[in-house]
């Protein structure tokens, strides 16, 4: 290996690999907790980033750049699989504005200080993929409805309705956990 190539790799590793845990966190949530798939997704994304390293502008946000590459890598695969219908019939959750059982039982949201992380994470992971991806992009990554719509190639109205349904579903799961724990009745 020539010296410039080795220098390039060392530089890349120094800048990029510190963000591995953030990348893996995002990959895990996008893939619904599928660890081997998330690892492959991170590896593929880091390789892409390494090949494009000359185009990365030094001094700009490396973490954001890597997260975007990972997001796009996942979305490309997701689009290819999109033609397959979701095995879960998730369209039945009411779309009327409703506060839901969790709010009725715990209007001040005290439960958010008590329910442990793993249960919330598995509630996100268990959402059907098209709902999960919308939640991850919007609620975890902070993308706008328009950005989510463009990435997922769906209308903005569909983004809204998926977010509504997914969030209400998460609240239902939290309510169930809260009842199991005896925190609410």
């Amino acid at each position: 290996m020539s010296i410039p190539a080795e220098h390039r790799r060392t530089e890349f590793e120094g800048e990029a690999l510190v963000h591995l845990d953030a990348l893996y966190g995002l990959a895990l949530r996008l893939s619904g907790g599928d660890e081997p798939r998330a690892e492959d997704l991170v590896q593929e994304s880091v390789l892409k980033a390494y090949r494009a390293w000359d185009r990365f502008e030094a001094g700009t946000n490396c973490r954001a750049w890597l997260m975007t590459i990972l997001r796009n890598t996942f979305i490309n695969e997701f689009r290819q699989q999109k033609s397959r219908p979701s095995p879960v019939d998730f369209e039945q959750v009411a779309e009327r504005p409703s506060s839901g059982a969790l709010y009725e039982a715990d209007p001040e949201g005290r439960i958010f200080d008590h329910i442990i992380d793993d249960q919330v994470i598995s509630a996100i992971d268990e959402l059907p993929v098209e709902f999960r991806v919308a939640v991850v992009l919007s609620d975890l990554e902070g993308l706008s409805y328009q950005e989510v719509a463009e990435l997922m190639e769906i209308p903005v109205g569909t983004v809204k309705s998926r977010l509504f349904r997914a969030r209400k579903r998460l609240q239902e799961r939290l309510y169930e956990y809260a009842v199991e724990m005896g925190y609410v009745k």
Partner: protein
């Protein structure tokens, strides 16, 4: 359109008079910052007056913060960094 904004002169309610149902229908768009300035203001003014909607919006805000905080967390995978370093080392110059 803008020159007719005040038309009809009566009968149509302005954004400052949102009903609870109209405000509730916009809860997520409001919290997500997806409403335009006048719609956002309409919901905000409703919340200032409405003792029923305010706590509910606050609850949804706490919920979204909670999901964001837990879901966007870092995770570590033992062995992944070594594996990636090996793959990078094997890349052609």
């Amino acid at each position: 359109m803008s020159e007719y904004r005040s038309w009809p002169p009566d009968g149509s309610r302005s954004e400052s008079e949102l009903s609870c149902e109209e405000a509730l229908a916009r809860v997520y768009e409001f919290l997500d910052g997806e409403l335009d300035a006048s719609q956002h203001d309409g919901v905000r003014r409703h919340l200032q007056k409405c003792r029923r909607c305010y706590p509910y919006f606050d609850f949804e805000r706490l919920f979204l913060d909670y999901i964001h905080e837990l879901g966007a967390a870092e995770e570590s995978s033992p062995g992944l960094e070594d594996r990636i370093r090996e793959v990078l080392a094997a890349q052609p110059d």
